[in-house]
């Protein structure tokens, strides 16, 4: 099912607008991640999709139906919560059956469908257990099965993995991806973890302070951020961000007091940020930008190098064959991709 959000605003009280003039179209069968720092309005957005909250302004469409004010139970959605929200006194099977029981599905069919769903999420050998006797990952699987058993048009997941430990998180996010692709259900997944978002989504919606920042495929978000915030938010290690000014059509790095060699067509004296990804810098003795090596650590065929540039420190991947000693001065050149120039005030991207 296709989800269309038109100019959604949610205002809780006079000065908190949790979501601000938010428009997006989520295509049928896709897994879309709502990504953003804590408090940016992700849960609020999701709760408006599920009908727990009603938007102050704007419209929500499921396919062509206006569902903006439709009660949750008529929307045909499945919800998965961060704390799983399983009924502790019911067995796994009873939990998965519960949505069907409410819909008055006959008992035999109920059990058949629940068992099938349990197989899909690999908890079919745990049907008689109570949630308290399951691990976190198993509980989350049951919660997903319960959300999917009534064949919702839309699956909403609010930080479903944040109560799990690091390894299980990776395993479960792949599971969620697999289940989503097998059932072909349209899914919206909320997270504040950019790695999680990058690894499972068809598209990512990046939010900040209630505003949509960028809505694109993960790779596009990474390779071509719309603004400074997107560039800062994505990537590990985080992007290197240096203050600069434009002199003679070139960005001067203020901290190092050296020209960067990055050419740009902007008015003289314009204050900008020069950002580059760790993999976009290269060792270049001829480069005009020079820094001092602080330390290096080898990671396979590359080594991550911390370099002091004036008052600040940047990190870059260098060829592992290079011998770099701490204290040594090196020239930093840039590759064609992964180097950006942003407006220092608005965050707008120039390069």
């Amino acid at each position: 099912m296709r989800v269309r959000l038109e100019n959604i605003t949610k205002q809780f009280n006079k000065d908190t607008k949790a979501v601000n003039n938010f428009s997006a179209v989520i295509e049928s069968g896709e897994l879309v991640t709502l990504l953003g720092p804590s408090g940016c309005g992700k849960s609020t957005m999701l709760n408006m999709l599920s009908g727990i909250l009603i938007p102050t302004e704007g419209k929500i469409y499921f396919d062509d139906d206006d569902v903006t004010e439709m009660p949750s139970d008529q929307r045909g959605i499945g919800l998965v919560f961060q704390n799983y929200a399983l009924y502790p006194h019911m067995t796994v099977l009873e939990n998965i059956c519960f949505p069907l029981e409410i819909k008055k599905v006959p008992k035999a069919e109920r059990i058949a469908r629940a068992t099938e769903m349990a197989k899909l999420v690999h908890v079919d050998m745990l049907l008689d257990r109570k949630p308290g006797q399951l691990s976190g990952g198993q509980q989350q699987r049951v919660a997903i099965a319960r959300a999917l058993v009534k064949q919702p048009r839309l699956l909403l997941l609010d930080e479903p993995l944040s109560n799990l430990d690091a390894r299980l998180r990776i395993e479960m996010r792949e599971e969620i991806r697999r289940i989503q692709q097998e059932t072909k259900v349209t899914a919206i997944f909320v997270t504040h973890d950019q790695e999680e978002a990058m690894s499972i989504s068809d598209h990512i919606i990046l939010m900040k302070d209630g505003f949509l920042q960028q809505f694109d495929e993960p790779q596009v978000l990474y390779d071509s951020p719309a603004n400074c915030f997107t560039a800062d938010f994505l990537g590990n290690p985080p992007i290197n961000k240096m203050e600069g000014v434009v002199r003679n059509g070139e960005v001067y790095v203020t901290d190092a007091n050296l020209p960067s060699g990055v050419k740009i067509d902007l008015p003289e004296g314009k204050e900008v940020y020069l950002s580059f990804r760790a993999e976009s810098a290269e060792y270049n003795p001829e480069a005009s930008l020079k820094g001092t090596v602080i330390m290096t650590s080898v990671m396979g065929k590359e080594k991550i190098t911390s370099i002091k540039l004036g008052n600040m420190e940047v990190r870059a991947y260098m060829d592992a064959k290079l011998t770099l000693k701490s204290g040594q001065e090196i020239g930093i050149g840039f590759k064609d991709t992964g180097v950006f120039v942003f407006d220092r005030e608005t965050g707008e991207r120039y390069l």
Partner: protein
């Protein structure tokens, strides 16, 4: 061999004597019920009655006072109070815990404030109401004032509040009504608390004395504790007979307590963990 600490020995000694002090009156009552009039005043006292088959005291008790009627009345009153009060408590606690309505907190605060008024002060108003409704000296007079309890509501609301909101939202999204959610999710989840509340209520009703004494006159509607009191004043103060009557009154509660012990301990322990 494992060394037993002196403090442990001391602890068990204290507990042992504590238990002894608690149990002894019951022991004395039950054995006394089997003794004859001369045996019970005998010096030094006997620890065990001469014969456990001496049922004269019980016979006398049942002959002079209609203890069977009292017993049935007591059971009726207890069941009615526990069930009715249980239902109203569940509904009220749910309303205050989950439903949003204007003045919710204010109303709840007022109810809590009412808890500060001791029952003895309400006796007069309750009595006038009961008389006004022409229910004086009927079984309804025994039941009606105890069909709600602010205290139990308060306890249960506390437990309901601790159930995560997301469970409610999950059920709502699936189309579950408030009514169904209450009985299918909240009530089963609060079973330990509910059992504790109902047991406390059962014990309190079983033992209630003052209100039945005020609200009833005739033998037909008397309950056991008041019946016991009446028996003593009507049948003369014979220790061994009093013991027999008291045993009859107390025994059912002891049995209930033993059966439900698991739940009581569970309920209290859970409350403690949440604390």
């Amino acid at each position: 061999m494992k060394k037993i600490k002196f403090s442990t020995v001391l602890l068990y000694l204290v507990l042992f004597f504590g238990a002894l002090i608690m149990i002894f009156p019951f022991y004395w009552m039950i054995t006394g019920a089997f003794k004859t009039g001369t045996e019970i005043v005998q010096m030094p006292p006997t620890m065990l009655p001469n014969s456990f088959t001496n049922l004269d005291n019980f016979k006398f008790a049942f002959q002079t006072a209609p203890f069977v009627t009292y017993f049935i009345n007591s059971v009726e009153m207890m069941i009615a109070c526990v069930v009715l009060c249980g239902v109203t408590t569940i509904l009220t606690a749910f309303a205050f815990s989950r439903l949003r309505f204007p003045g919710r907190n204010l109303i709840f605060s007022c109810l809590l404030a009412l808890m500060m008024v001791p029952f003895e002060m309400l006796v007069i108003t309750n009595y006038r109401t009961i008389v006004g409704w022409h229910l004086h000296d009927t079984k309804w007079a025994l039941i009606l004032p105890f069909t709600t309890s602010i205290f139990y509501t308060y306890i249960l609301k506390g437990f309901f509040d601790s159930i995560p909101e997301s469970l409610y939202q999950a059920a709502k999204v699936d189309g579950c009504s408030d009514w169904k959610y209450l009985w299918r999710v909240m009530v089963p989840m609060s079973k330990p608390s509910l059992v504790t509340i109902m047991l406390l209520n059962a014990i309190a009703t079983w033992n209630s004395f003052m209100w039945p004494m005020i609200a009833t006159n005739s033998k037909e509607v008397r309950t056991l504790p008041f019946g016991l009191y009446a028996f003593i004043s009507e049948g003369g103060a014979k220790n061994e007979r009093m013991m027999a009557a008291a045993t009859v009154v107390v025994l059912p509660m002891i049995i209930v307590f033993l059966v439900a012990r698991k739940y009581i301990v569970n309920g209290v322990a859970r409350g403690g963990l949440k604390g």
